[in-house]
Symmetry: D3
Subunit: 306 residues, 6 copies
Amino acid sequence: MSAEEKQEYMDQIMVRAQTLIEALPYIRDFNNKKVLVKYGGSAMLDRKLEESVIKDVALLKLVGMKPIIVHGGGKEINRWIDKVGKKSEFVEGFRVTDRDTMEIAEMVLNRVNKNLVQMVENLGVKAVGISGKDGGMLHVDKKMPDGKDIGFVGDIREVNPQLLDTLLENDFIPIIAPIGLGDDGETYNINADDAACAIAAAISAEKLAFLTDVEGVYRDPDDKNSLISVLDMDEAEELISQGTVQGGMLPKVNNCMEAVRAGVGRVHILDGRKEHCLLLEFFTKKGIGTAIISKENGWYENELED
Amino acid sequence: MSAEEKQEYMDQIMVRAQTLIEALPYIRDFNNKKVLVKYGGSAMLDRKLEESVIKDVALLKLVGMKPIIVHGGGKEINRWIDKVGKKSEFVEGFRVTDRDTMEIAEMVLNRVNKNLVQMVENLGVKAVGISGKDGGMLHVDKKMPDGKDIGFVGDIREVNPQLLDTLLENDFIPIIAPIGLGDDGETYNINADDAACAIAAAISAEKLAFLTDVEGVYRDPDDKNSLISVLDMDEAEELISQGTVQGGMLPKVNNCMEAVRAGVGRVHILDGRKEHCLLLEFFTKKGIGTAIISKENGWYENELED
Amino acid sequence: MSAEEKQEYMDQIMVRAQTLIEALPYIRDFNNKKVLVKYGGSAMLDRKLEESVIKDVALLKLVGMKPIIVHGGGKEINRWIDKVGKKSEFVEGFRVTDRDTMEIAEMVLNRVNKNLVQMVENLGVKAVGISGKDGGMLHVDKKMPDGKDIGFVGDIREVNPQLLDTLLENDFIPIIAPIGLGDDGETYNINADDAACAIAAAISAEKLAFLTDVEGVYRDPDDKNSLISVLDMDEAEELISQGTVQGGMLPKVNNCMEAVRAGVGRVHILDGRKEHCLLLEFFTKKGIGTAIISKENGWYENELED
Amino acid sequence: MSAEEKQEYMDQIMVRAQTLIEALPYIRDFNNKKVLVKYGGSAMLDRKLEESVIKDVALLKLVGMKPIIVHGGGKEINRWIDKVGKKSEFVEGFRVTDRDTMEIAEMVLNRVNKNLVQMVENLGVKAVGISGKDGGMLHVDKKMPDGKDIGFVGDIREVNPQLLDTLLENDFIPIIAPIGLGDDGETYNINADDAACAIAAAISAEKLAFLTDVEGVYRDPDDKNSLISVLDMDEAEELISQGTVQGGMLPKVNNCMEAVRAGVGRVHILDGRKEHCLLLEFFTKKGIGTAIISKENGWYENELED
Amino acid sequence: MSAEEKQEYMDQIMVRAQTLIEALPYIRDFNNKKVLVKYGGSAMLDRKLEESVIKDVALLKLVGMKPIIVHGGGKEINRWIDKVGKKSEFVEGFRVTDRDTMEIAEMVLNRVNKNLVQMVENLGVKAVGISGKDGGMLHVDKKMPDGKDIGFVGDIREVNPQLLDTLLENDFIPIIAPIGLGDDGETYNINADDAACAIAAAISAEKLAFLTDVEGVYRDPDDKNSLISVLDMDEAEELISQGTVQGGMLPKVNNCMEAVRAGVGRVHILDGRKEHCLLLEFFTKKGIGTAIISKENGWYENELED
Amino acid sequence: MSAEEKQEYMDQIMVRAQTLIEALPYIRDFNNKKVLVKYGGSAMLDRKLEESVIKDVALLKLVGMKPIIVHGGGKEINRWIDKVGKKSEFVEGFRVTDRDTMEIAEMVLNRVNKNLVQMVENLGVKAVGISGKDGGMLHVDKKMPDGKDIGFVGDIREVNPQLLDTLLENDFIPIIAPIGLGDDGETYNINADDAACAIAAAISAEKLAFLTDVEGVYRDPDDKNSLISVLDMDEAEELISQGTVQGGMLPKVNNCMEAVRAGVGRVHILDGRKEHCLLLEFFTKKGIGTAIISKENGWYENELED
């Protein structure tokens, strides 16, 4: 190496050291905190994005947090239903999940599940793939929209966190497929967002991050520069009543608000299409998405202004 | 109830109490012992038999043992390969497991796995379904019979029992699909008998029971009354060299002997087609199959004669 | 063995397996629960009955419960008092326990105590014989019926469960002689039923079983077919106010009700003259005696009807 | 109080403080060490002496040691045998212990046992009275001197220290009656000195103290001023071969030497007729009896000279 | 030794044994209790007194208590300030602690701290010297008397007892210099009496002993025979309102009362100029100083009269 | 923010995320490993450098390592000795450390010690400052070069790691001043490099890093481009015997080699004058200094070539 090359190398790695040092307060504050990542939909379609999510989660684990992944099936489930030539029936706008559909859904979810495990393990970090059937973790009631039977779809009645606690205490990353058991001993499908909320509440997670295909919540939906970094519950309700939060955004924000009410410290809406979105949100002051918080849960005074 | 009916009821339940009392020495001696059950093949085809195996395993857990199930895929894997119209190639007598075949095998095994979990959970006992990928439990080398590539088939190089220990200590029944990770980060299929042997040895299991479709080992294969209850390693070798143990029985017995050599206390060949074969073998003096033992592993003096 | 003999053997042991499987839900539900057995009186006189009680208790331990025995002295104490030619004095209907009588009582109780320990140990199960003096477990006030001094007879003022907890956690069966310490540093005799109630309440036992010489509580004392399997506290009070429960049964039922009020899950009146009465009561749906329960303590909805 | 009285009071309590301070190095060095006290014979006959022994043991516990008492039956056993008019038979110089004798012996030993427990408890210190039957602690072979049957007398074959460890870890003082179980399930009497040695060796006691009715070992038996404070194993053997140690002293010294060989740190022969002999031996440099030590067990260089 | 010399020796060591036995109830009652000793001022000036305090503390540790020392700097700090020729400024009667003064104070306090550690270690007992900066134990607000800046002097806002708990659980004696950290990241001096009170309250100490240069509280300040052994909170307030407690005694008593209110079991004012004052107060019934107690904190009925 | 500004912000924080991800394998491999940093000399003189070292150490802690600091006194000790006008005497080239000098050295070292604690605590990370006197950690023999007395200078005879283990297990960073206790109860000064080696060996540290004022070891001392990244023990000996390593470098390299021989995994010579030298060495493949390793201690095959 010439003297210049050497200097260049030193400059490069010095930037690296500085970056690590800047992460220090975040690493310190999140030490041992449970962080649940809901991962599905668009963010799942792209292998490179998938790797970036998995690396982020592995890093969160290595710097002392306790991450958990709840995943959906992406578009794979529908693709398989089509593949086997199955026709879906709809009731009250819900697709009916008959026994065959449930079987396909479970196989696809298990496959996604073990793929994620494999990606984490290949980074040298320990992960365990489970569904809500394992350890009797998720018990469901049959979902009956307007009293109509839509098959093996369940609403979570009870979360038994014993297996989850065991895995977290022994330094495994739990990766969870949203499947549960009914009182009839049958397998039920669960909406992955609902599963993430219920589990985050049951284990008093510090953070719940939804990897979505939007950037976050805008103060003015037409102005891409009006993204809200930190949104207080009161303001969120105001935005809803004003009609600013509407359309596809409405159920997402409602879901987040419910999780905050159930005791989750802070719920993040992130753009899962951005590489390393978890690190960018958690390890920078401003973040890249929208964090929904409650004043009761102890956020910092000056955060709303920043 | 008439006086006679009452007497009859009392007689019946008295038999029950006597039976429980007779089980006392077995329950006492196996307390806290690890018992690995290899379950697959014929015993898996019949729902009633499946339930009987699962109930036996649940009971072993409840009376204080630490059971573990390693399962195969039964004939389901082949059925699915045929279903999707896949043609299998053979090399050196081994079916080549290409990426598509491996994907099907993994989906089927995961499905069997979660079904078994569900059956145990429905009895009110805690189970967790994992594969050798979870917690990095099974690391494999690519199998190369006579140097030929037969695809994603692995030989176990290392068992990392950390996840297994965690689950056993926290009172879950681990149910294991025989799938492992290669150094190339790929998923590999493992022979279920081999997986059972390797895991039993790695956790120093007290017992390893193979649920097969034979009754056990005969002293004279033509005489169904010559079943051997307890077979010492020396005698086993003699039966092999004499040619008494041969054909399909030979690899089974060799497998058992290898497990005994690797430190497993006692290896049982049971007829998985018999209901409650596990209880019948473990909780009666004579048993119903063949137990292969080593004098070094501390069997009781007078057992060979009984 | 001929083919028929073999079949017969198989049939026999299959019944055995079925019985064990039927016990599964009971074993599951009582896992790790504390069960206190009050043992004395008639059930103690017969060596065969004594062995049946001890085997039952050992089995309860082996299938995962935490049994404790509180015993009386049977008729041995009186026999010894007569033997040494001691004349008893009576005050207010209570036999006066002077220092000599107390000494004899303690010797007899200790002898019974160590005999029970020996019987359990001979089954290969660990037991420890203690009295309320050990570890300062039972502290008493001098009993003064109508202000009269009847000697070294005590009412329990305080149960210190530390020694009991230590033994239970370390998998010993505690066997307890009902003797306590007074504030004067003297040894006091305690009624064994009272000791059982006080200890069961202090350790929040799930079950307290009195082995008596009656079958249980009858709805109609003249009709042997009117035995009540499960008796709610409200109904019990009704039976008392109606005069149905009366005579020698009255204090027994009152004792049971007091234990239920003190937080014991369920109190059983069993006929200790029946072999394996503990297993018959605990491991069958209908049971053989009377269980006194409180709706507040969480019994199952449909039990009263069965 | 006058000024003089006050001064006198201060002087008195200052002496007290000085004494406590002088005990500091002994308390420090024996912290958490197991100390087994064999107590029986003459030291047991006198209530005042008994109280002094119990207070010493309680204090050893309170200042951080882990004391254990093994006791004999004093002369009580013989007194009771005479009382019930039983004639003893002798074989090879050993009294034959038939079933009746064993029963009396056990009752007397249990009574002594619970009395000692009571005395410790009355000082506010926790004690638990057990025999070798409890927790299966002492397993014996039938003693057959010259092949002759002398009844229920046993030699310890195995000490199972599990119960003892449990009690010590939970801060109870174990008080042990020297009774054991035979393979025939019967109760056997054990020589208390032998029991003390076997138990001290099994738990690797730091100290074993025999409370006897001699002052210790003399260099010249005729010179009361020649008491040996610290006796090395080599010198002990010399004294025996010289015939200096002889008569009743010989088996005592042999017993001590055996305990040292079995790994006990230091074995003390003390005069149990002296009040507070345990404190006087353990908490003063010179002590009052004879300590038998082995150079291998790490005594201090300069002790032999002092 | 002649017979008389021997007798004399025996008499002497018997007194010693008696003294130890008399300490038994105190040792028993204070077992595992946290005892905080505030040590400073006059008691620190004399090497012999210092050794007596350290020996007392070491003994308290050895007999099972959990002592903690909080020390001041004695007159050393002023001596060093003079030595370096520094002139002190005063504001509102408080000496201004500028950065230089704080540096000197910290150096002197650390020196005193490590000297005390060394003295304890030289007795073979484990001690660890820390200040309130270590483990972030003491966080302070800047003290502003009447709004005036007096430099680096702090009032304790928060005690983080984690380091203290860690040391106590692992059997070290913590020795604490009264220095804390401000929110500005600077080092602040803390009044040692205040530090002792705050720490004693934070760890729920059983006892807090101030080693002062007075004998205690007098009922009549002019009558040296009117020293109060045990002073109830109510009576203390009365003595203050009567003007009996006044002058330099007033802030001392107020400090003690505050500690009692904050949950410390009992606060002792002792004359640190008396050798072994801690043992004399703790291990005798009457004690030598004044113990301030609250009826709510559970003192014994008859103590006020004695 | 304009679109460009936004893009720029995103680019910047993306670099940050990438950097964190690149650190993943290092963080993973060093998890829970003990890393001892010897810090002193030039690296101590500059406040900015000091902060960079402290931030590095805090980060190592936060990402899961167990760092320990052993520090020297920099040039402060000499400065203070001069300040108080003390003349130093020299014997055999060693400065004589008389009692006054030792006192000054201890005060300076304690001051440095508490300053470092304060800097770590101000980052929100827990640190505890101790010397080898605390918990009796460092016991020394008096150093006698050629039999000459040079005062209170010690060579470590024994490291008692109990306090260190306690602090590490409870997540404190221990910061250690190199001072020990002699058998005479006196305080002794210890060479900081020697203390670091002895402590690293006693706790089986994975890494020992010396922050020096050289860049590392050169293959050719005249060629600044010949810095050796990883130096095997064999090659190190060769460089010494060739005379390549000489002068001031010789004792440094010898010290490192001794530590490797004593079981430390890998010893680093780093240039403490470079900011973030610890992160640069530990979290980059090539590092910035020289790591001395032994093939026996399990370095990676291909490291020597890189």
